[in-house]
């Protein structure tokens, strides 16, 4: 080989080197940008759900029309009908409304508006027989229009609000009667068929209860199992079988745990369907191996000298482990548990199978109340046709990701802050 050929060959080799390195950088950039696109997409479409559009309406709390007076009890007020004064106020927006269009005018506010009026009145009873401006939730379609999530320049028959409603909306907007408020009800309301009323209250509570059941079951059992396997288990066939089982269970698809829950907990033990109790049970079984494995690693990291020291002072094996080894392994154990729970929080498929996809319009308080959970709420809303549910879904995802990020960073904090390095 001449020196020139050698040089060409060398250049070729260096080019290959650079190419290889470029592939690596390219892959990493690709993976990170996927993450970026995903998060950007969710956040950009979900943030608007934290706000809702309201209209300021002049309402006349006429006691004759309401059929109540100053002394009417709260119970009777709740039973009375605020629809008439609401409709009157709405029709006053455009006095020239033709008879046929009146229903469209009434439809610009949410179906919840009469109840909002009622709640307003219960707080301001002194407003009886007075004219006052009240802010009422707009219907979902106009809400989406106002947020710019829905194009206004498409033909009337392809959108869910009419030209007439659009005209009234624009007039009110020009008079600054359309306002945007922080959407508190999104956090407190239960699910609803109407997007402007739907909230994550029930699924947030459901997730909390499910996770609580899961924690109560999986944390002690997981830690005790890890201690047994790491510290006490004799080297025999039974231990080997248990270890293989733990490792395999960690890789079993989550949906199989759902089938287990359906086949055993619901069909065999008759536990109540759609409840956090069963959900927590299923998730606990799923989380167990994911807790046992990091716990064992944490126990293994405690140096033998600690055990030997305790044993030398006359402690029994159980005393050694419980008083000396486990406390030192606690930070690792806790962070492992939290990460396991955060995976359980994001789990959907097994919960769908045990019936946690039901439409729940009340907020649950006990583990035996039917409820939904956050990820299942995402699934349910993503199947809905209304445009308003898209931003709700994204907003739910934002909340879910927020919780996951919080739990994971707490776990990392615990590990970095309290874990002792032995070396």
């Amino acid at each position: 080989m001449t020196s020139k050929q050698k040089e060409i060959f060398l250049k070729k080799r260096y080019r290959a080197e650079n190419r290889f390195k470029f592939f690596g950088i390219f892959s990493i950039t690709l993976a990170v940008s996927f993450l970026g696109i995903l998060l950007f997409n969710i956040f950009s479409s979900g943030l608007s759900a934290f706000f809702k559009t309201k209209i300021l309406l002049k309402i006349n709390f006429d006691e004759k029309k309401l059929g109540i007076n100053i002394n009417t009890s709260e119970k009777e007020i709740k039973a009375s009908n605020f629809n008439e004064i609401l409709q009157e106020a709405l029709l006053n927006l455009d006095l020239l409304t033709p008879e046929l269009k009146k229903i469209e005018l009434i439809d610009i506010v949410s179906v919840d508006a009469t109840y909002e009026l009622k709640r307003f009145y219960l707080k301001h009873k002194d407003q009886l027989n007075k004219m006052i401006e009240v802010s009422l939730t707009l219907s979902d379609d106009l809400d989406q229009l106002h947020k710019g999530n829905f194009p206004r320049d498409i033909p009337e028959d392809r959108r869910r609000f009419s030209d007439f409603q659009l005209k009234v909306f624009d007039e009110q907007n020009a008079q600054n009667k359309i306002i945007t408020e922080f959407n508190f009800s999104f956090f407190t309301n239960a699910d609803s068929r109407d997007p402007e009323l739907a909230g994550i209250g029930s699924s947030l509570m459901g997730s909390l209860l499910t996770l609580l059941v899961c924690l109560i079951l999986s944390f002690p059992i997981g830690i005790l199992a890890a201690i047994y396997l790491e510290e006490f288990a004799p080297k025999n066939k039974i231990t080997e079988i248990i270890e293989i089982n733990v490792n395999n269970l960690a890789a079993v698809p989550s949906i199989v745990f759902g089938l287990l829950g359906l086949g055993i907990f619901l069909n065999y033990f008759y536990l109540p369907r759609s409840t956090p109790l069963v959900g927590g049970l299923v998730l606990a079984l799923m989380t167990l191996p994911r807790i046992i494995i990091p716990c064992r690693a944490a126990l293994k990291a405690v140096p033998p000298s600690i055990r030997e020291g305790a044993l030398a002072l006359g402690a029994s094996k159980v005393q050694t482990v419980m008083h000396n080894v486990v406390p030192l392994a606690m930070p690792g154990t806790l962070s492992g548990t939290i990460i396991g729970l955060s995976q359980a929080l994001g789990e959907t498929a097994p919960l769908i199978l045990i019936g946690m996809v039901a439409f729940i319009n009340v907020v649950p308080f006990y583990p035996i109340d039917p409820s939904a959970v956050l990820p299942v709420q995402v699934y349910l809303w993503s199947e809905s046709a209304e445009r308003g549910f898209v931003e709700k879904t994204s907003a739910t995802i934002i909340i879910l990701i927020f919780f996951l990020a919080f739990m994971n960073s707490f776990a990392i904090y615990l590990r970095n802050k309290f874990e002792r390095k032995w070396s």
């Binding site: 290889f20 993976a31 995903l38 199989v256 089938l259 287990l260 191996p289 993503s382 995802i397």
Partner: protein, 461 residues
């Protein structure tokens, strides 16, 4: 009821603990008598005797009483030859819902006395449960206190109990596997008595909805051609393959770069960032695939004149691939780091460039580990549910066109089991048959993968 009993047991156990502890320490103080163990162990001893037997009885009682009640109530119906045996469960749930006043619709008159009987039996069982448990508590406290007075070696007994509880907790993993296998097998066997296993594995037509169209008398004849699972196996394989096409190259190169090239500062930022991809719930990926990626491909297809379905195997597969990237990259990273430095140094000393060393020395050495990592990723892809449920569609067809909708085992399980279902029809049981197929398939892949990784690690330890 159960909650009250549990609270009762806890209160009793706690008071037993303090009672035993103070009692023994007082005795030591007053009479100077020597005990075998520290006072606190006598407290534990007493508490364990008080709590454990009662809890065990409570556990088994609560799970079995409904069975006894059901047996007692249904014994009348079983004797009646005019009633279909398969409807017994339905009758029982009706009776229960009448008793709990949750029955919707016209209440069948003939069931009302049974509902009353159900309530009565329930009451009897509850009361006898309370009686049995309280007498157990009293008896065992009495017994264990006598033992304490005999100065038994309390620490040893307590430690034995602790060890046994720990062993039981570890054994729950085995029980879970057993539970999975049994529950799946139980329903699957029922399914395979109606639908031959051969038809299930080789049939190419999947339309479980049709199993319902005819009435009950012809159902069996109708069941024959609608439970062919081959399209589902194909769809699962196909989508997993698309996912691996994304995940393997990207994950592998990311892992290699992170292990061999990246400076530790870059690594510290990038590695967790990529791992975030694995921490995002799958339902989020499903939403992203269904609402963003699917329509994006559809629009892209329209501009170049291709007909892309908005629910396509391609969209689901690619998004799934993105989800799997960190599984491949992290494991690759670990595996490459486990390859001894000496191998690399030998290669450098021969004048090889870094990439040549990686390609010719490090990767071959790490190959078993990488294969294990990829296999684990495949098992993830096969078992993944939400992405395909939300983005891959439901059409069970044998197609190699990634632009069409496709369906998978997991999608069908979810579709069949969403909502109320009765357990006595082949459609529901089919979901369990699919489940057991999925379970064993992923189990085999996992075992192979874990073994290869383990062997690889042992090789360089």
């Amino acid at each position: 009821m159960n909650l009250t009993i549990i609270t009762l047991i806890i209160v009793f156990s706690l008071s037993c603990f303090f009672f035993g502890k103070t009692r023994v320490s007082n005795k030591i103080k007053i009479s100077g008598k020597k005990f075998n163990s520290l006072p606190v162990y006598y407290g534990y001893y007493l508490a364990a005797w008080c709590g454990l037997p009662a809890l065990i009885i409570l556990f088994f009682w609560s799970f079995s009483d409904l069975y006894f009640i059901k047996f007692l109530i249904l014994s009348d119906f079983k004797a009646d030859p005019t009633i279909d045996k398969n409807k017994l469960n339905l009758i029982f749930t009706e009776i229960v819902s009448i008793a709990e006043k949750k029955f919707s619709g016209q209440i069948p008159k003939n069931l009302v006395p049974y509902a009353e009987r159900f309530l009565n039996l329930n009451k009897i069982f509850e009361l006898s449960k309370l009686a049995v448990i309280s007498s157990t508590i009293v008896f065992s406290i009495f017994f264990s206190y006598k033992q304490i007075l005999k100065n038994i070696k309390a620490r040893e007994s307590v430690e034995k109990v602790i060890r046994f509880i720990m062993f039981f907790c570890a054994a729950i993993a085995v029980l879970t596997t057993l539970g999975i296998v049994l529950s799946l097998l139980f329903e699957s066997i029922k399914f395979f008595t109606v639908v031959p296993i051969f038809d299930f594995i080789t049939g190419t037509n999947w339309a479980p909805g049709r199993a319902f169209i005819r009435d009950a008398s012809t159902e069996i004849a109708d069941v024959e051609n609608v439970f062919g699972a081959v399209p589902l196996f194909w769809g699962t394989f196909f989508i997993a393959a698309i996912a691996m096409c994304v995940a393997v190259p990207v994950g592998l190169f990311s892992g290699i770069y992170m292990a061999e090239y990246a400076r530790s500062k870059v690594r510290k930022i990038v590695k967790p960032l990529i791992e975030v991809l694995a921490g995002i719930p799958t339902v989020v990926y499903g939403f992203f695939a269904a609402l963003t990626v699917g329509p994006f491909f559809r629009a892209l297809g329209e501009t170049i004149g291709l007909d892309v379905s908005s629910e396509s195997a391609l969209a689901a597969g690619i998004v799934m691939g993105v989800m799997i990237i960190p599984y491949v990259s992290s494991l690759t990273d670990d595996v490459i780091n486990a390859v001894p430095l000496a191998l690399r140094e030998a290669s450098y000393s021969m004048g090889a460039t870094k990439s040549e060393t990686i390609k010719k020395v490090v990767l071959p050495a790490a190959l078993p580990g990488i294969v294990g990592a990829i296999l684990l990723a495949v098992s993830r892809a096969v078992g993944e549910t939400m992405i395909v449920v939300m983005a891959a569609g439901l059409g069970a067809r044998l197609t190699i066109n990634p632009l069409e909708a496709s369906t998978t085992i997991t999608t069908q399980i979810v579709t069949i089991l969403v909502g109320d279902q009765s357990f006595n029809n082949p459609k529901t049981q089919a979901a369990f048959a699919l489940g057991i197929t999925l379970f064993f398939f992923t189990l085999i892949i996992n075992i192979i993968a874990l073994q290869t990784v383990k062997k690889f690690k042992e090789q360089y330890d």
